[in-house]
Symmetry: C3
Subunit: 318 residues, 3 copies
């Protein structure tokens, strides 16, 4: 697979959020991800695309799976990877984010993958550097590679996305995954229903995104092709008590076999991980025949390879 700067229909220098991409660009990424997915099944899982290039993974917020997924993707593209995490960083010495980033950029990385607790951090940085920036999560705002891997998984398993009924369940308001998924799925023509406690549904969501808001779990799951459960992220709720208890949450918005039986016969179950087993999803469902949760992880590597590949093909703007 030869790198090409004339790759059709991907005119982005950065990957910051799903709003910036049109349906055709998303499809370009998904098509390419399918090809990289196959590479992960080969004995030699490596292509020379990013040989001699440096990719910096700047994670200012704890992460495991996303950082490792990017690192695997980068190494399979033959990049030299540099990991920089907040816990070992100059930020402890009071350096600003921009100074940290400008310093990293002065070492000539081709691509900067960054996670930060502040919404808009990746956009802020992207405007100020020549390196391509990939947003690996900025607060509750966006997590575009998660949305892309979810789309890639759905398209692969269901054969299409257009016209599917997709339920997204949980803390919609604090979830960058939900936000990015809703935008991406709507662009690709899916019907999205969201469900969760009222305190966790952002006001105006239906108007803004065209998603259908359900206040009961059954309503969202009924007849769905895809049921996507979100992680309850206590760490993002700022201490406020948005639901009575995990037991209460589990009883009203947790997915078990009974609820799942309301969906279509061939419906699939998704979760971005890490799962709280017994809270938002029962082990029976998480490990059941409808679950494509680990398939999502495999597509995570493939989608990130696709994104890095496409961004590497763009010459830096002077």
């Amino acid at each position: 697979m030869a790198a090409s700067t004339s790759e059709p229909r991907f005119n982005q220098r950065h990957l910051l959020d799903m709003s910036s991409l049109d349906a055709e660009e998303i499809t370009t990424i998904l098509d390419l991800a399918d090809r990289f997915f196959e590479i992960s099944e080969r004995p030699i899982k490596k292509v020379p695309t990013l040989r001699g290039q440096t990719v910096v993974n700047l994670f200012m917020e704890p992460s495991t799976r996303t950082r490792i997924s990017f690192e695997v993707a980068e190494k399979r593209l033959s990049a030299d990877t540099i990991n920089f995490s907040a816990s070992t960083s100059s930020t402890k010495k009071g350096e600003t984010l921009l100074d940290t980033v400008k310093n990293l950029e002065a070492m000539s990385p081709q691509i900067l993958v960054m996670r930060h607790s502040e919404p808009g951090a990746a956009h802020f940085v992207a405007k100020r550097v020549n390196a391509a920036v990939v947003n690996a999560g900025d607060g509750a705002h966006a997590h575009p590679t998660q949305a892309l891997l979810d789309c890639a998984t759905i398209r692969k398993v269901k054969g299409k996305i257009k016209g599917l009924e997709i339920a997204i369940v949980g803390d919609i308001d604090h979830s960058r995954v939900a936000r990015s998924d809703i935008i991406a799925l709507r662009k690709l023509g899916a019907n999205v229903r969201v469900a969760g406690p009222k305190t966790m549904i952002p006001p105006g969501l239906a108007e803004l995104t065209g998603a259908t808001v359900c206040h009961k779990l059954g309503e969202a799951v009924e007849g769905a092709d895809v049921v996507m459960m979100l992680r309850i992220q206590a760490e993002r709720q700022g201490g406020a008590c948005l639901f009575p208890s995990t037991r209460e949450y589990s009883r009203t918005f947790g997915l078990d076999s009974d609820v799942l039986s309301m969906s279509k016969d061939d419906a699939i179950v998704m979760h971005p991980g890490p799962m709280n087993r017994g809270v938002e999803i029962t082990p029976e469902v998480a490990d059941g025949p409808r679950s494509v949760i680990l398939y999502q992880v495999t597509y995570g590597v493939a989608v990130r390879m696709a994104v890095l590949y496409l961004l590497a093909g763009k010459p830096p703007v002077e």
Copy 2:
């Protein structure tokens, strides 16, 4: 050195403990380690065996030397290495070990090297994944690559293992190193004597392993070909006071030149590290002409290269 799936006499998909290997399989590893040892002395210390393969080092317990030894071994085999340590992990978010491992496996690593505080953790994981699993230490249970590097060192320096008198001294009960060493050395025909405070010798050891239990240090060291000192690991004793004080321990079970003089004239001194100088071993002995402690470290890389090489040659079971 070309990889071969028909490598004779190594029929393991994983390396979990020394009990699972027979003498011929151990010898296969030691022979191969001797060849990799030579590669570490070349100007270019690298072979392409694992090119395009991902190896994940999953260390759920603090470690330096073992993790680095594996990482060096993996890189000399041209693998892409991914380090995952507990301190930066999803386990903080409450994910189960199996979910963590399944997620890593979904990224298609060829080999998973894991250390965990729970005895049996590597076995538990190995039954549930397609990747080859190398146990890099599971609680007080097993540490097979340490036993293999000890065997490789002894065989190289003494020319054989069969018939040697080998003293292992220290906290036998809490030591995965001792456990794995005793099993391996017995399989290769050595006579093993253990010594340590009564509270640190597991009941039934002599019956189970054929080792001779000594309650005085001199008894074990007298006429020995090899004296292997163990680290006193306060962190593994669960707070219980198993010996009066380090000074008392040092006086009764610490190795100094006087005690060492009771061994054979050409006896060698070993220690798995990190050493407590002045507690289980005096600096004079640790740095003396009989010490092969650093040679053990060098063989550590070679043995791990051999193990990874052999496991990489096995196709995953479906």
Copy 3:
């Protein structure tokens, strides 16, 4: 660029401090750094110099930029890099520095890059190992690659170093950067003026180094070709109160546009980073047209490539 063991005029096995190098050796490094600087601007930023070699980065003190700069340099030379930081180390288990280093050395690294809080740590280690040692900072003593990158930057921008008037401002006494810079710049024929609070100027500095000591900032900056600001490092002052407050410090020794206007018209501003914006330097100056601060970072990678390249060419002494 082919590796050569007969590289003229660099007869060092280690890089420990600037005192050990003569002007010709420094110039050899700077010349080579200029060539590596160009490699960082190529599409493929990699040369095979250290292929099959292991470089260990042993950082016993927190660091980001220096560790990452070395790691980038090592990877661009195709080395296998191993990162070892104190927070995950055996040193927690009470191992001595020398045992840690001897263990790492037994894994056959070609080069050991080390940072340690103790002055003289790198010298201590260098005397006891066969690997080449690069001092990446030892307490308040030396930081030779920082001095070299500062020299490389100045020479590139100003076209020469000899005869330039260079002001170094801040906590001279506690700064390994200042110490190494003064020695290097004097060897290359620059005139060095230092300025800072009296408590931060080591007694006898003028006599020892030939630098001119100024007690007012304006005195040092007046007519200077280069103004190098140091970071105020509260962490190195041992709790003692060496200046009244950061506001007071900023007022008397902080660089702003007014003060800078006293320097030559084409003077440049440098800072080793990380900056305390608003303390030792105003944002206006840090981001202004005279600032070469990010250029220093880029030269950091090139200089480290040059040093590693030169040391790798030396066969280990037996």
